[in-house]
């Protein structure tokens, strides 16, 4: 026995030789880590530091001398001058990076015709300096200028680091009330969506109603359209020129309907109130419904029939079974769905932009600060504020999902519903109502897109499809969107799947793998608006060697792949985990390179998952607005952004028309995907055991 405190045994410590394959896998993994750093971590870091970047005029470091024909007078400090004149107080000092202060303001008697000469200088290197003859001067040398030249001198703010932006954010009620608004909208939408989706999922899993397949398919429709289309549909249905009103008038006569409508209109949440919180909530429920539904269906379908049998054997009454068996079984699913919906709503930008009216929420604030006021620092502050709830929701969701997985792997006897006329009919009616609403929103958009001018000229026309005469990029934007979605699907699927393979099947190099996993999970927590803004800061920086991608299709693809990386990565990892871990070992023992097992076995076996990833990326690239709204250029306008811009410009019908184009494209691609998957299944069922 060795009696020393040595940690290892008697033999010499082994440093495993890293094989050629391992090196290649590690190198490749590093490439993707690098990608995620550049496309995610660095931009976020830059954004975070931007939010702490403050700008203020440092007049105390600027000095003047004046020569009115009698030689140079005494040196005048700008701060002292300004205070004397009453034009400078602490309020005027704080500004943005674009803030400029004309030097002539310090000389009320200034006239550019006068023969007066001026001198100006900085007293401190590194403070903001001033623009002279169109060029920035930050040195401490005197500049001697004629009054004609002096007229154009602009004092620039000096940059500092501090919490100033946050202080001014939290002292501006117009800004920080958005936090409350956003949280309120998200919470209410979450409660409504989860409740509705639970009932719908309950009907699909626990009743014997008919047309379950169709109901399930209809419920997935909102995934195929940009979230803002829901807003547009609601405006047509319930807005000032409400289609519902028109139909009611047509059916019951104007006289009958008018008093009712007025009563509603004068109520707290009347039709004109569709612009505002109610509209946001309804549209949010519309577009988050399928996301919640998928999760809750999964949770409900893993229910263990034995529990129900036991409960029935104990003669528990139905409501009690529901309370003590159904709800606890679906508990994790419900919590997870709630957090996913919360996250989607609070980070969504399309819906509140279209239907929010004067009601401010965080995501729209970012847009307004950046696009409207060009106040990038404040945009960064709002982004950071928005990150907090999103991060919390994300973390809770991850924890809950882990528990759900544990439940899934436990063996259970699947529950088989038994027919019950009354229950099945109730459920059927409910599902009809929901399906009708979903299809109704789309139908109304399509209808509005096809008529000349709602509600005055109802004749059919394709005029609204003449996108080229509208604001938003025209048909090019549609072509761009398809191109972008296509690239995203191809590049994204390749990157996500190969990356997941390296991290799942690679050996050793644990620190690299952990880092990769962390980076791959991060995008889900980052709201699209935040990502887009971070990209502006990072890629648009003149010193960034990657600056050339700014304004190209490339940055849109990078941004979209990154934005939707996490879900794709998880799909890939799940598929890879189902592969026998010994495939690689066998291949190595037979001295074959990993590329062979990857190409010959892994990819063919995982092909359904690979197709799922690519369709997911394609559909989301078609519908995403939030991240790319900051990044498109005149050459790379996108259909989803065109919907937004046309709506913004008041061309609501064309916006609806474009939204429906996105829908048909996505629906078509989905059908193609279904066909491919089915064909694949037929071809491979010889070797697939299940």
């Amino acid at each position: 026995m060795v009696s020393t405190a040595q940690a290892v045994g008697r033999g010499s410590v082994v440093r495993p030789k890293v094989g050629r394959d391992d090196w290649i896998m590690r190198a490749y993994m590093l490439v993707i880590v690098l990608y995620l750093l550049v496309a995610l971590a660095f931009p976020l870091y830059v954004m975070l530091s931007k939010s702490f970047e403050t700008y203020a005029f440092r007049f105390d470091t600027v000095e003047f001398q004046v020569d009115r024909g009698e030689g140079w007078g005494e040196t005048l400090n700008a701060m002292a001058l300004g205070e004397g004149l009453g034009i400078v107080d602490p309020g005027t000092l704080v500004t943005t990076s674009d803030g400029r202060f004309p030097a002539t303001s310090f000389f009320p008697d200034f006239s550019f015709r006068a023969k007066t000469l001026y001198r100006i200088r900085n007293t401190k290197e590194g403070s903001g300096g001033f623009l002279v003859k169109g060029r920035p001067a930050t040195g401490t040398d005197w500049f001697e200028l004629t009054s004609g030249e002096f007229r154009r001198v602009q004092i620039r703010p000096s940059q500092a680091t501090g919490t100033g932006n946050y202080l001014s954010y939290f002292s501006t009620p117009a800004l920080f009330t958005s936090i409350y608004n956003s949280l309120m909208i998200a919470v209410i939408s979450t409660i409504v969506t989860v409740t509705l989706a639970f009932l719908y999922a309950y009907a699909l899993t626990r009743s014997c109603m008919r047309f379950k397949g169709a109901f399930k398919m209809i419920a997935m429709v909102p995934i195929l359209v940009p979230s803002l289309l829901a807003g547009i549909g609601l405006i047509y249905l319930f807005g000032k020129q409400s289609l519902v009103l028109k139909v009611a008038e047509w059916a019951f006569g104007e006289k009958t309907v008018a008093p009712w409508w007025d009563m509603l209109a004068n109520g707290t949440y009347g039709p004109s109130e569709v612009y505002g919180p109610v509209g946001i909530v309804v549209a949010s429920v519309f577009f988050t419904f399928p996301h919640a539904l998928i999760i809750i269906i999964t949770a409900l379908s893993i229910a263990d029939a034995r529990l129900y049998e036991a409960a029935i054997a104990l003669r528990a009454p139905k409501p009690r079974i529901f309370r003590t068996v159904t709800i606890p079984g679906a508990r994790y699913g419900l919590i997870s769905a709630a957090f996913v919906v919360f996250n989607l709503v609070i980070t969504d930008f399309g819906v509140p932009k279209v239907i929010g009216g004067q009601f401010n929420v965080l995501a729209v604030d970012i847009y307004k600060q950046v696009i409207g006021q060009q106040n990038f620092q404040m945009g960064a502050v709002v982004s950071v504020v928005l990150l907090i709830p999103a991060l919390i929701a994300f973390t809770v969701d991850r924890i809950v999902q882990k528990k759900q997985v544990a439940l899934l792997s436990a063996r259970a006897v699947p529950y088989e519903p038994k027919p019950s006329r009354r229950f099945d009919r109730t459920m059927f009616a409910y599902c009809c109502f929901v399906a009708f609403f979903i299809l109704g929103v789309l139908a109304v958009c399509q209808y509005a897109a096809l008529i000349k001018f709602w509600p005055y000229n109802l004749s059919l026309s394709l005029g609204n499809y003449n996108f080229d005469v509208m604001d938003g990029g025209g048909w090019d934007s549609y072509a761009n969107s398809i191109q972008m979605a296509f690239y995203t699907a191809i590049v994204g699927t390749f990157m996500v799947f190969t990356g997941a393979y390296m991290v799942e099947k690679g050996k050793g190099f644990n620190s690299g793998r952990t880092g990769f996993q962390f980076l791959a999970m991060m995008p889900m927590a980052i709201p699209g608006m935040v990502l887009g803004l971070a990209y502006i800061f990072f890629f648009n920086h003149p010193n960034n060697p990657l600056n050339f991608v700014y304004g190209t299709m490339g940055i849109l693809v990078i941004c979209t792949v990154t934005h939707f990386y996490t879900v794709s990565h998880l799909t890939a990892v799940t598929a890879l985990k189902q592969m026998d871990p010994e495939f690689e070992a066998v291949s190595q023992s037979l001295k074959q390179p990993f590329t062979k097992i990857f190409a010959r076995v892994t990819v063919p076996v995982c092909l359904p998952a690979i197709l799922d990833i690519s369709i997911y990326l394609f559909v989301n690239a078609m519908t995403t607005v939030s991240a790319v709204v900051f990044l498109y250029s005149p050459d790379t306008t996108l259909a989803s952004v065109a919907v937004l811009n046309m709506d913004d410009a008041g061309d609501i019908a064309p916006a609806a028309a474009m939204g429906m184009m996105i829908f048909y494209t996505n629906a078509g691609v989905r059908l193609l995907h279904a066909g491919l998957t089915r064909g694949l299944h037929r071809r491979t069922q010889a070797w697939r055991t299940t």
Binding site: R10, G11, V14, P16, K17, E582, L590, A686, W687
Partner: protein, 371 residues
């Protein structure tokens, strides 16, 4: 082909040499200073309870999970740090890991490709291998279309396709049902003998190890308890763990009472005391089938007066509990043949003289308590 080894001969040179091999998973030591030699053409089984480190040792030999410290040498070459692809072995896993989307032929041919062999050569080799494992016309099927036993044989064919110097098998039979398993034991063993390939098989089934192995390595909690032929392991278990793990064993506490003598509660027995000092607390072990019942004379050496407690019918024999003043609280289980029970009319509660043959008694230092 080299003859299959009768184990334990140390005059042969080792084909695989493992020295002071230690494997840690974080703070947990899965293998501790394992040293072992395996000879060319030998069939060695790693046997031990679940979690004792058998798979870990096998994977270290394969380079799939390289040891924390220690040496592995194959055919005179130090392979301790090499990745699997630079070692020379074929492997079969419990799951078989057959590639589901490739036909049987393509599975077997997988390792033959990229080796400068022509298509015709590969095809001929695959046919040869399919014949060898007795599945000549299953080449076009997919693994999912084969039975478990057939899949197992395909996995074996794939592992030996490239004629590796070493064959590693990790519980290759445990996923099969009992009948097929017994049948395949012979087939695998037969194949190994014909090819003369050095083979290491991991198993937790002692019957499998006893019937198939030339030598058995019994492991427990990351250390080797004993290495020996099946007969040595069974007859002369080196530790009380091995004695208990292999077959059935009676354990009775005792004390060394002199040279080659041990005292139980009320009786003195003659046995090999392995040089243990007088007064050492020991555990006395004897197998139920070694207890002699027929024609025992009272007063003979190691004879014991007992009474039959419960009798358990086990098909071809009875296993009887023996209660005796000489044993104190302890019980002995003895196997009584059906014949004996019938001819002597033995019943529960009857008195009986039994003999514990001196050469069949093993003693182990310490008071090991075994179930």
């Amino acid at each position: 082909m080299s003859e299959s080894g009768a184990g334990g001969k140390t005059d042969r040179t080792a084909y695989l040499r493992i020295e002071d091999l230690t494997k840690k998973f974080g703070a947990f030591t899965a293998l501790k200073d394992v040293t072992l030699e395996i000879y060319e053409g030998e069939f060695v089984c790693f046997l031990g309870p679940s979690g004792c480190g058998k798979t870990t040792l096998l994977r270290a030999i394969a380079g799939l999970d390289i040891q924390t410290s220690g040496r592995v040498e194959q055919a005179g070459k130090d392979i301790s740090a090499l990745p699997p692809s630079e070692r020379d072995f074929g492997i079969v896993f419990q799951s078989y890991a057959l590639f589901p989307n490739l036909t049987v032929t393509r599975n077997i041919a997988y390792g033959l490709e990229n080796r400068k062999a022509s298509r015709a050569e590969i095809a001929a080799r695959v046919t040869e291998l399919l014949d060898l494992v007795g599945l000549p016309d299953q080449g076009d099927k997919y693994p999912a279309q084969l039975s478990g036993g057939q899949q197992q044989r395909i996995a074996l064919a794939r592992a030996i396709a490239t004629s590796p110097g070493l064959l590693l098998l990790d519980e290759p039979l445990s996923a099969l049902d009992a009948k097929v398993r017994v049948h395949l034991r012979h087939e695998v063993k037969d194949l190994q003998r014909r090819l003369g390939i050095t083979t290491v098989m991991v198993t937790h089934d002692q019957e499998e190890a006893l019937t198939m192995a030339d030598r058995i390595v019994v492991m427990n909690q990351g250390v080797i308890e004993q290495i020996g032929t099946p007969l040595e392991i069974y007859r002369l278990p080196a530790t009380s763990f091995v004695a208990d793990f292999i077959g059935t064993m009676n354990f009775v506490p005792g004390t060394v009472s002199g040279t080659d003598r041990v005292r139980l509660a009320g009786v003195d027995l003659a046995c090999e005391s392995d040089g243990l000092a007088e007064g050492t607390a020991v555990t006395v072990a004897v197998r139920p089938e070694d207890i002699v019942v027929r024609s025992v004379q009272g007063g003979e050496e190691n004879a014991l007066e007992a009474r039959i407690g419960e009798m358990e019918f086990l098909g071809s024999f009875y296993r009887a509990d023996l209660v005796s003043e000489g044993l104190g609280e302890a019980r002995l289980r003895a196997d009584l043949s059906i014949n004996l029970v019938r001819s002597q009319g033995i019943n529960e509660g009857d008195p009986l003289s039994v003999l514990l043959p001196r050469e069949r008694i093993r003693i182990y230092p310490g008071n090991a308590v075994h179930g």
